[in-house]
Subunit: 337 residues, 2 copies
């Protein structure tokens, strides 16, 4: 019989998550920054490791963004690993330099380099998963950030427990719970004082918005975690629908998707939008740059009855209607004649 979540200790909950994803007898990479979340994850995993026969490797990235502070974080993580007898791989990466050369925002630059390093370490040790210490409060912040910007269903899915090779065993716990555990168990951690733009927004949401919302629903973080799972299911369901539609009604080439324009026109506007999103993702790898005004412009062409119509959104996606076909294409170079 399953034990209800409320009666389980945080260790039991994490253990259940690891077992659910068949982590027994495997190597795991732990992404550790030195903050409270990651130090709690390190402690808990080090205790569970013998029982599940896990080999743990800690990976730490020194982003070199806060001078001495960053170096002290690195030393702190190394010392913690030392006392727990866990191998620690760390790297100094000049994020500022990378950011400038790639013209990215600081958060994106740091994330790109961090994941690159984590994947490298994962490869080196042939590990099963990379474990990150995101929690339920992070999930709520993500959902609220997306909602405030104006999001579709996907943006309400929040953070996944498992996404590819990234596993997040602390997702069931709020930031408050984790800080309480750290205090109770005397777990030391470092406080990150960086001012990434995204972090400023997250801090504002965490310290200003969420406490206000919790006056209306004290369980808001758990409510959101549960609902994120529902929205994730919804997104996957709709995404599959569009995928199946395209497979049934279109001829797919690498940079060109050729659909029956009459069948496409007969579908609901909502399904047409899903199809546009799916094709855009096929061409560009993600829908991050796709704005809803772009979708509306392509939709207009699909819905026009008369004449051979055409529309191109930058060099990302175009549509051309010609003799009973609606042809989606990527970039000017692959434009159909």
């Amino acid at each position: 019989m399953q034990i209800p979540r409320q009666q389980m200790s945080s260790r039991e909950i994490v253990e259940t998550t690891l077992k659910k994803h068949n982590c027994e007898n495997s190597t795991l990479i732990l992404g550790i920054s030195g903050g409270s979340d990651s130090m709690y994850m390190l402690k808990i995993l080090s205790e569970i490791a013998p029982k599940l026969n896990l080999k743990l490797i800690v990976a730490h990235v020194n982003h070199m963004l806060r001078g001495n502070e960053s170096d002290t974080d690195e030393k702190f993580v190394k010392m913690a690993c030392n006392s727990l007898k866990i191998k620690c791989e760390s790297a100094k990466i000049n994020i500022k330099k990378f950011q400038k050369s790639e013209k990215l925002n600081l958060e994106s630059a740091a994330r790109t380099k961090r994941y690159e390093f984590l994947r490298k370490i994962k490869g080196k040790y042939k590990a099963k998963f990379i474990l990150l210490a995101h929690n339920a409060t992070d999930n709520t912040e993500t959902v609220l950030l997306n909602l405030i910007r104006g999001t579709s269903i996907r943006g309400l899915s929040g953070i996944s427990e498992l996404n590819g090779d990234i596993l997040r065993p602390l997702l069931p716990f709020s930031k408050k719970e984790i800080e309480k555990y750290c205090k109770k168990e005397n777990i030391k951690f470092r406080i990150d004082k960086t001012n990434f733009d995204i972090k400023l927004k997250r801090n504002f949401i965490r310290h200003k918005l969420i406490p206000q919302i919790e006056k209306l629903n004290p369980n808001f973080t758990q409510t959101t975690l549960k609902k994120s799972q529902y929205f994730k299911q919804a997104h996957e369901f709709l995404s599959n629908l569009a995928e199946n539609w395209i497979n049934s009604n279109c001829k797919i080439e690498k940079h060109r998707i050729n659909c029956d324009s009459k069948i496409l026109a007969s579908e609901s506007d909502f399904l047409k939008k899903l199809i546009i999103e799916n094709i855009y993702e096929k061409f560009n790898g993600s829908t991050l740059d796709l704005e809803s005004t772009h979708i509306d412009e392509l939709l207009k062409v699909i819905n026009k009855n008369v004449g051979n119509k055409e529309k191109q959104i930058g060099t990302r996606i175009g549509i051309k209607k010609i003799s009973g076909k609606a042809i989606f294409y990527k970039t000017a170079s692959s434009k159909p004649s």
Copy 2:
């Protein structure tokens, strides 16, 4: 050519909405409380009426909840109608009494009686629509209230411009815009100081939450209004999918829906949940009382492979699996043998 929204006056926007819904040459009932929103709607409609050949009837409900204040509101609305030469129908309704006898919360009781009166007046004058003065801020509040409680896609649809016979021509404007118009045009209105529970929550959201959120996105109200339309489309699309699935795979009787259990089991959990919601709504008229834990319990029965299983949620809905069939039924009295 369409004039962009930004270049239109509020009167032109309202006129466009009325034309879109073919209101020319018809009778309209205006639900007027005496507050800023409704008094602005009254003023604007009285100016548009001659051009579109509209017959306007004002309907006002005195909820008798604030003694003298309520009576003064009623007099205020009647005087305004008098000076605009618009017929005013008003009713004194003892909401407290009705609330006690029906064991409703105050907001539900007031809403039930208000809509009952508005529909009565609509019938009396054979009117085309009832016009209510809900605005974009009301929509944002509704979306946030639902989100905070934990909502599905439907709850993010917010308030519809047109819902059955209810039309809301002020939906494009925020509360702030309306108050600015009232000040500029010297439109007098009454301030409602009631403390319905739902109003307290709405006030909290309006005065505490939304101003904080607007620090991150100053256009949050308009963003939410646009996204509400997207979520409404999504809800309708999913609802139609479930409806079509049921029509294709089930035998529908009044209190009993008999589905092929093998085909049902082969669908994704997300579609199964949509089907449960749809059937619940068929049996009970709405999904207001349907909790996600109830859906999960029914889902479990659908997903069980072995044995003849059964589950009943109160007297609202039950499911019984028997010889290749999944039978949904309403109440114990219609339980299948």
